[in-house]
Amino acid sequence: MTTPMVQIKNMHKYYGDFHVLRGIDLDVAQGERIVICGPSGSGKSTLIRCLNRLEVHQKGDITVDGITLNDDVKNIDEVRREVGMVFQHFNLFPHLTILENCTLAPIFVRHMPKKDAEERAMEYLTRVRIPDQAHKYPGELSGGQQQRVAIARALCMMPKLMLFDEPTSALDPEMIKEVLEVMVELAEDGMTMLCVTHEMGFARQVADRVIFMDEGEIVEMAPPVEFFDNPRSERTKAFLGQIM
């Protein structure tokens, strides 16, 4: 049996006195797709940001691809090389072209030759259907295009795990679809994904498990059919009632 991609054991996180994450337990197998939903402020972003150490947890254990996340900088670097992240607000680098955004990390982190990095970047830009924008700057692209670049940028590092933090919630409705399509394709290719989103159609289509979080806890976790058609917790029911 292969080791899980992510193992979280009784993990707690505090912002000062504020107890944000209260004992999270979660295993994610390789190739598994997980969708996380829950009300705003429930700790969804914090949870996935702990997985690449953008946030530091205080108690419990997190292991990503067999690497334990602790104060060891070497481990953190190693995990970040293997984990791609897509943010709500894209976080592209506005002073670099699309192509440069995509080649930066492969060149400086993976020490790839520039030519190879550019070839790979063009490959992924083609996959997210914007190869013709490669020499523009992020500010010249629409939101949907920028988010697809952000996905391509993360993929250029050949990550084993992709984290998405509400990738479509800053987009105009007509652009959501183009981003979701890319994400569906990625899921079909077998990428391990942890995705915070309220796009329930996406969750039904690709998720292996859907997680409902509230007040820093995982309240419910089930395959999508069960989760949507037969939620057990009252809080999940109330939440689903609100958003659907």
């Binding site: 607000h89 002073h95 400086f108 010249e140």
Partner: protein, 352 residues
Amino acid sequence: MMLNWMRANLFSSWGNSLLTLISLWLVWVIGSGIVEWALIDAIFTGDNREACLVPGAGACWPYVGAKWNQFIYGRYPLESQWRVDLIFAMGAGALIPSMIEGMRGRRWFVLFLLLPFPVITYVLLTGGMFGLAEISSDLWGGLVVTLIVAVTGIVASLPLGILLALGRQSDLPLIKAICVVFIEFWRGVPLITVLFMASVMLPLFLPDGVVIDKLLRCLIGVALFSSAYMAEVVRGGLQALPKGQTEGAQALGLSYWQSMRLIILPQALRLVIPGIVNTFIGLFKDTTLVLIIGLFDLLGIIQLTFTDAGWSTPQTHNTGYVVAAFIFWIFCFAMSRYSQRMEKRLDVTGER
């Protein structure tokens, strides 16, 4: 065409017309005064003060001609002035191509200016090596000293300021504390005090027998002083960037220094170019304060020439000060224009 433009821009309303007329009158009064003084009434030839003693005479240009060599070189010996000229020529020869965007080999010119050039300058100016006569820095003066102090301050303050600004934002409490104390100390004391301390007090703390050149002490003082100001300018730029930029870089696996060098600083510095150049210009003009500790910069030398009885006329002071002001203005204006061009050029990223 012209008439339409004037009507639209200068005389669009009763109030605007009045303002236009008042402005024109002011320009005329001031402009004609300057032209009269500098050209029409000015004296252009002569060998000594006699020429400029004519009643109602304007600027005394022969005085400038006679003292020009001192304005530039101070008391640097005449027979060795070619060394200074050589430095000027090398500096300008490398500076101009290094400022032109798209120039081939541009980075080599920049590299030359930053690494070998200061060493060459030092060797040539001081001498005492390679058969060059040694020339004490007491004899240096004029524009040479102004430029040495200003350029050293400018070149040292940017990297030091960046490091201090980064240190001030550091998560490591000790580094943060050191940077905060350093910045607040140097920002809190006037430059004059710094110069006095460098020239009078520092030698008292040094062990016996250790002598540091006065000019060098002054250079260190100016560099540290201006780096504290620069640090705060840079910090402004760092704080203006959204947190997402750092997080985006971190998530990709870039190290702290990589993300600073490749992502954060290029954007932060671009945002604060006006502030950086402002600090440079301020520093350039503050070099005049070195007079206080007995170094003769351009202004100092010009004032020194006022004491020459052979050129003492009612217009000597005016003429000298105007020359000083004009030379300073040219350098500061050039810096300002170059920074504006750079800002425009760097702003093509389509950020909207």
